[in-house]
């Protein structure tokens, strides 16, 4: 049950990482274009933060599969 929950959570979080990008792009007052250390907020998120977040989510939320059952 725990495994199913973790996997479902990982799928949801990964989809969320994708959806946040157009949400940032659609923010009012051109928030997405604000520059931080040379790069705009939108490009920071889409180019650097989101793929690193995805890596962390995949590693942290996806447990190893259960060991194969031994024949009795």
């Amino acid at each position: 049950m725990r495994t199913v929950t973790n996997r479902g959570m990982a799928v949801l979080l990964l989809l969320l990482v994708l959806v946040v990008f157009p949400v940032i792009a659609a923010l009012p007052n051109q928030v997405a274009t604000i520059r931080l250390a040379g790069l705009s907020v939108l490009w920071w998120y889409g180019g650097v933060i989101a793929p690193v977040l995805a890596w962390l989510i995949a590693v942290a939320w996806l447990p190893d599969p259960p060991p194969p059952r031994r024949p009795e």
């Binding site: 990982a10 799928v11 157009p22 659609a26 051109q30 520059r35 490009w43 989101a50 995805a54």
Partner: protein
């Protein structure tokens, strides 16, 4: 390690990962999001896990047929790209197609070819990343600085060193399909002479014009004039003039257009369900954590490479926008000038990396079919005559020029609508039910794809469904699957 390399090779077939930098260049943030989606969807597919096959259930032929079709179309798209690269480098298209098809075909005769997938993938990664440090050194700026420079450009101008300015180039090798519409007065010279075709706005109507130029003769175009791509064999553009078809400025490129939600959804559904079909076919039900970590790491490397490649290429060569951006133009190493001493070596490395990527991908895709074909003992993946035919048909078809990115999306949409859509849930559907639902998904996908060709150009949700038929086909298959499951239970 091997398992992760197989998944990466299946998913990041060259036509997909080499399209990433060209999409970033062409669409700005929209392209960046597409690249992000391409990197994330295999992780989502792995996280979703594969349904447990029912004990003693008969293995259906439908997914095998669909996967074979998908693999064939992906080969086709890759070979179109290989032909385009050859043409851009000045060789006949068929050279690139023949080399790719022959080397891929040769590997089908080797039963243990799957063992070299990690080595081929590693070679591809090293080869395509090797030019980046040199490109950065020549540019004299790091990746963040390069992006900042591009994003602050007042306009994209032809550099004086561009081959479109110095010697001139043949417009017919541009396959981007973008119109060459001038934004300002621009003098075009035909160094070897020839005929020039243009369309100019004349009041409310468009007027077609034609000139026959002697060698070295020029024609001046005004803002709004459109140069036809079937014009003179070789044309020279003016230095420091705006590149026709480029965004208004670097700021506009970096900002992009407001998000088109229906099209974003269409692309996501297409690639996500395509990944579900491709990455999970015959794969272990649940991959290990280290496999997922390596797949995520590989995707991250490919995505960062694509961004760096796109930005440095654009910084050095804004003329990439002329006539639309296509992957082969980026593989020609535009970030280094023609006279750079290391250019031939690095270009050869890039080509070798692309070929290694294709070979790894072709073996991994065949191995997916082997794993899926349990009844036949995986013989489908080792049938030399079958794969020779697949490579030959794909090779011949790629002589006919199409957009390789659209073709790859078509392959993913087909797989996603028919196999990916029915592979959801913790338990596999009975084979007959899954096949029926898959056929419905496939029928809807094909009908919408044909309808889009006949009557395209719609906006909003309808436009998104026309552009990405999987947006309607996947839910249709999922609904039919649910109803059929309920009916047979």
């Amino acid at each position: 390690m091997t398992s992760a390399a197989h998944i990466l090779a299946v998913w990041l077939t060259p036509v997909l990962w080499l399209s990433m930098p060209s999409l970033i260049l062409e669409r700005g943030p929209d392209g960046l999001w597409t690249g992000l989606a391409l990197v994330l969807v295999p992780l989502i597919a792995l996280a979703a896990g594969a349904p447990e096959p029912a004990a003693g259930a008969r293995e259906p032929a439908f997914p095998v047929v669909i996967l074979l079709l998908t693999v064939g179309v992906l080969f086709w798209a890759n070979m179109i790209l290989a032909g385009d690269v050859a043409a851009w480098l000045g060789a006949p298209r068929w050279h690139g197609i023949a080399i790719t098809a022959a080397s891929g075909c040769l590997l089908t005769t080797w039963r243990g070819a799957w063992r070299i997938i990690p080595a081929l993938l590693l070679a591809a990664v090293l080869a395509v990343n090797a030019p980046l440090p040199e490109v950065a050194r020549v540019a004299g700026v790091g990746p963040l600085g390069a992006w900042a420079r591009v994003a602050t450009l007042a306009a994209f101008h032809f550099p004086s060193t561009s081959s479109w300015v110095t010697a001139g180039r043949d417009l017919r090798i541009i396959h981007g399909g973008g119109p060459i519409v001038f934004d300002e007065e621009h003098r075009i010279t035909a160094p070897a002479g020839g005929r020039l075709f243009a369309r100019t706005p004349d009041g409310g109507r468009a007027r077609d014009l034609e000139w026959t130029l002697t060698p070295g003769q020029s024609v001046t175009f005004r803002a709004g004039d459109r140069l036809q791509s079937n014009s003179a064999p070789r044309l020279r553009f003016e230095s420091d003039k705006r590149v026709p078809g480029s965004p208004p400025s670097g700021v506009a490129w970096a900002m992009g257009r407001p998000p088109d939600w229906p099209r974003h959804a269409g692309l996501l559904v297409t690639v996500l369900f395509g990944a579900l079909a491709l990455c999970r076919a015959g794969a272990p039900v649940r991959p290990s954590r280290s496999t997922v970590a390596l797949v995520a790491g590989g995707g991250l490397v490919a995505f960062l490479w694509a961004q760096g490649w796109a930005v440095y290429s654009l910084l050095a060569s804004p003329d990439l926008f002329l006539g639309g951006i296509t992957p082969e133009r980026l593989l020609a190493l535009p970030a280094l000038g023609d006279g750079h001493p290391a250019r031939p070596t690095l270009q050869a490395l890039l080509l070798a990396g692309g070929l290694a990527g294709f070979l790894a991908s072709s073996i991994a895709l065949r191995e997916r079919l082997v794993a899926l074909d349990r009844t036949g003992g995986g013989e489908i993946g080792r049938d030399v005559s079958l794969w020779t035919s697949v490579f030959a048909i794909a090779g011949l078809a790629s002589l006919w020029h199409l957009d390789c990115w659209s073709l790859a999306l078509l392959a993913l949409g087909t797989a996603g609508s028919s196999v990916g859509a029915t592979a959801l849930g913790s338990a596999a559907a009975p084979p007959g039910v899954a096949t029926f639902a898959g056929l419905v998904g496939l029928a809807v996908f094909v009908a919408l794809a044909v309808a889009c060709q006949v009557r395209g150009g719609a906006e909003g949700l309808l436009g998104a469904v026309q552009a990405y038929p999987a947006l309607a086909a996947v839910p249709a298959a999922a609904v039919v699957l649910r109803i059929s499951r309920w009916a047979v239970s």
